[in-house]
């Protein structure tokens, strides 16, 4: 069933991540929706027609690290609308207005629209928010580099969401390399490419920890892109999610333990951009983060070292939430153990009394039984 304590633990973590992330069916729906938005923005009668707009996902939606908001609201999915403006002078404000205008010309989108500071939000009730950020390629063009609106909408800032995603995917590749090294053939769970890597899961868990830990102090919380970059930076390819999470948290703890200037997190796809600038602007947020990540490191180390399944469940509930933890344990039994029992493929290893797949050497199959007795 599980080859080791770590394997069992990783299975629970994977289920916790599944409870947190955008479900695959909703992901597919979101793709349909944003393609439709793109078609509308770029259609023959669109006022944006001349600029060959393209629309693509960025952020956690693109790299597969979505985590549902703490309070059960809809997922926020980030999209980039790239308009090929070339050398044309146009402030972000003007471009944002034009995108909004085009969307409002559509009867349905007009009802769903909300103008945010730098993007247009389309709310699909009970599904998700699509946040559309208007951007333009740099001039002269420079690979995947784009220009995004600054906070005041008067100037453009360099950014590189495709570049960031490519960097993160490259770090994830370490996981697949490690898997290939070990296995003669692909392991069943990772056969299809859509299976998450340990880095993606570690990034999800780190963001969820942040959401829980900073619930009452959201303004001081580190940005998701900071956490994701830290995860990718310190990841060395550990196949196990618990090991990957542990080494990332350990290394972030070391990096932030030194007194003095805050550790700087720069955008790997845009090195002039300091993603962690809040830590320099507000040093107390840095000190708070350093203390909390050290506490997480200690907690994670003690979970690894010992404690039975109940202690593990209690610790995971405190870090990631009671409901998602309970659902993960419930699903593990209901989806992986009980179905095998129903078809007679569950047994117990005689050396240890541990639940195992049957038939197998050293394993006694569990015969059909009905638990009885008083409630």
């Amino acid at each position: 069933m599980f080859s080791s304590r770590m394997d069992h633990f990783d299975t629970v973590l994977a289920l916790i991540c599944e409870e947190l992330q955008l479900p695959p069916s909703v992901h597919d729906l979101a793709e349909q929706r944003y393609h439709a938005v793109g078609d509308w923005l770029g259609s023959v009668d669109s006022l944006l027609r001349a600029w060959r707009s393209t629309i693509y996902p960025q952020g956690s939606f693109r790299i597969g690290t979505t985590v549902r908001p703490l309070t059960g609201d809809e997922f926020d999915l980030d999209l980039v609308c790239e308009l090929d403006l070339g050398i044309k002078q146009a402030t972000p404000l003007v471009v944002l207005n034009m995108v909004e205008q085009r969307l409002r010309q559509h009867r349905d989108y007009a009802r769903m629209i909300e103008r945010k500071k730098r993007c247009i939000r389309l709310t699909y009730a009970n599904e998700f928010h699509l946040d559309v950020l208007p951007t333009r390629p740099t001039w002269p063009p420079d690979g995947t580099q784009i220009l995004i609106p600054d906070r005041e909408l008067m100037a453009w800032l360099r950014s590189n969401p495709k570049g960031f995603a490519a960097w993160f995917e490259g770090r994830s590749e370490l996981f697949r390399k490690e898997l290939r090294k070990r296995a003669v053939e692909p392991l069943p769970d990772h056969k299809n490419g859509s299976e998450k890597t340990s880095l993606q899961r570690a990034a999800q868990l780190l963001k969820r920890w942040r959401d829980m830990r900073y619930e009452k102090l959201a303004d001081a919380a580190p940005r998701s892109i900071v956490l994701t970059t830290l995860a990718g930076h310190f990841f060395t390819g550990a196949v196990s999610t618990s090991a990957a999470f542990g080494e990332i948290v350990r290394d972030v703890t070391s990096a932030t333990a030194q007194n003095g200037k805050p550790f700087q997190v720069v955008n790997p796809a845009q090195p002039s951009e300091v993603l962690s600038e809040q830590w320099e602007r507000e040093p107390q947020t840095y000190r708070l983060f350093a203390a909390r990540i050290a506490e997480l490191h200690q907690c994670w180390t003690s979970i690894q070292e010992g404690g039975d399944v109940e202690a593990v469940a209690t610790a995971l509930a405190a870090l990631f939430g009671e409901q998602v933890t309970q659902r993960a344990f419930r699903r593990l039994t209901a989806e992986r153990i009980e179905p095998r029992r129903s078809i007679g493929s569950l047994g117990v290893a005689r050396s240890s009394g541990t639940l195992s797949i049957a038939p197998m050497a050293g394993v006694t199959p569990i015969r059909k039984n009905t638990f009885y007795g008083e409630e």
Binding site: S4, Q326, G373
Partner: protein, 136 residues
Amino acid sequence: MILARWPGFHLVSRGKHYAWEGTLQSTPLSPAYTIRITCADWRSPKVAVIAPPLEPRADARIPHRYPDESLCLCLPEEWTGERYIADTIIPWTSLWLHHYEVWRITGEWLGGGAHPPVEKVEPISEGREHVPNPVH
């Protein structure tokens, strides 16, 4: 048979009442439970968990146990004297322990099961007596 197949088990008493003790660890994260199987005769072996102690939840008693706290592993008709304890009782106990652990965490018993019929007694509400229908 038990001793031959289950190296973690040993005989602790023989004669009128046979008893074996051994450890079972349902999953790698589980603790190793010491259990005792007692047989007065081959009719109905009893299984008790010696250590670590089983704990109820704040809101519920431990499901699927007999009043003497031994484990309910099967319906009466699922145990026949010819069955070897080694092939039934011990594997069923490991599964019971797993479901107990998950019940502790989630509040749900996911192992299925049945309960013996309970004789319902009507409470007598104030001012009225429950009078059974007259039999003619």
